[in-house]
């Protein structure tokens, strides 16, 4: 399992979805994180290449034609993924709570 290096907010969102379920369809991740497939597909590819997730085919026999690709977070990656998600959440909270130094009623309100 390789180190991911830089983890973007979008990657953290994908990891959060993977942490919440055992196995999930790739497009379902796209729907849940609210990002485009152009963002999510490369993230999943990168996670798979790094050994964090394992791709597997849908085993439902009822569905004919091409099979859906499901993704599962490997056990070794779960603690690290949780850590990344926590850090991103903290960053997001601190950004949201920080007041921006903008003009308010004509007066400078810098921290």
């Amino acid at each position: 399992m390789e180190n991911l290096g830089r983890v973007t907010p979008a990657t953290a969102l994908v990891l959060e979805v993977l942490l919440s379920v055992d196995s999930v369809w790739g497009l379902q991740i796209v729907k849940d994180v609210g990002k485009k497939p152009g963002t999510v597909y490369p993230i999943l590819d990168r996670l798979e290449a790094a050994g964090w997730v394992q791709g597997e085919w849908d085993s439902t026999e009822e569905r004919k034609g091409p099979r859906r690709r499901y993704y599962r977070l490997v056990a070794e990656a779960r603690p690290l993924a949780s850590e990344y998600v926590k850090v991103q959440r903290a960053k997001a909270l601190s950004t949201a709570s920080r007041t921006s130094p903008v003009m308010s009623e004509g007066q400078w309100c810098g921290a």
């Binding site: 485009k36 963002t39 091409p66």
Partner: protein, 185 residues
């Protein structure tokens, strides 16, 4: 119909861009997503764009991996000797080629302008007259770089009579045959 054809074409391009070992998996995955994506409110256009991004990213990482593998193989020393030898040979060849070009350039410059030791034969140092049939040196020695010949060498290939019949001025003949006096003839 046109839209389906376009989607198929774009999908084929994405598959072609994808590294070989991933093509079968990705193609089936994308086809399944194209079939079921609209049911989740995800448009085929968006999915195709995702496939393009995915294939380009995969290709980029594969090239990056290949490049770093090749580099690490060299750095580890597996082919270090061979690589060093090739680099060394290339440097020597380039150096030799450069030296040769430099020497040639200097030689050509020497031909163009007369040097101090050859001022005694100015007529043989005019590059424009090298192949001039009316030139004294050309007439006496033929199409030859006459500057390479000393006075003795010129005399050995061109007799006084030859020089006279070539019609060259007295002073030029006297460079090679100082004893020549036209009045004496």
């Amino acid at each position: 119909m046109r839209g389906v054809r376009r989607t198929e074409t774009l999908l084929a391009i994405c598959v072609a861009l994808t590294p070989r070992h991933l093509r079968a998996v990705r193609e089936e995955q994308w086809r399944a997503d194209l079939r079921d994506g609209p049911g989740l409110g995800i448009s085929p256009t968006s999915l195709i764009f995702g496939a393009v991004c995915s294939s380009i990213t995969a290709r980029f990482y594969e090239l990056l991996y290949r490049g770093s593998t090749l580099l690490s193989r060299f750095i580890k020393g597996d082919n270090m000797k061979l690589a060093l030898g090739m680099v060394g040979a290339a440097v020597v060849l380039m150096g030799g080629a450069f030296a040769g070009i430099q020497a040639n350039t200097k030689a050509e410059q020497a031909v163009a302008s007369p040097s101090t030791e050859d001022r005694s034969h100015p007529e043989c140092y005019d590059a424009a007259k090298m192949n001039d049939p009316n030139d004294f040196c050309y007439q006496t020695i033929g199409p030859w770089n006459s500057r390479l010949l000393t006075a003795d060498e010129v005399r050995s290939v061109a007799s006084l009579d030859q020089m006279i019949s070539a019609g060259h001025p007295t002073d030029q003949i006297q460079r090679y045959y100082p004893e020549y006096q036209p009045d004496a003839k």
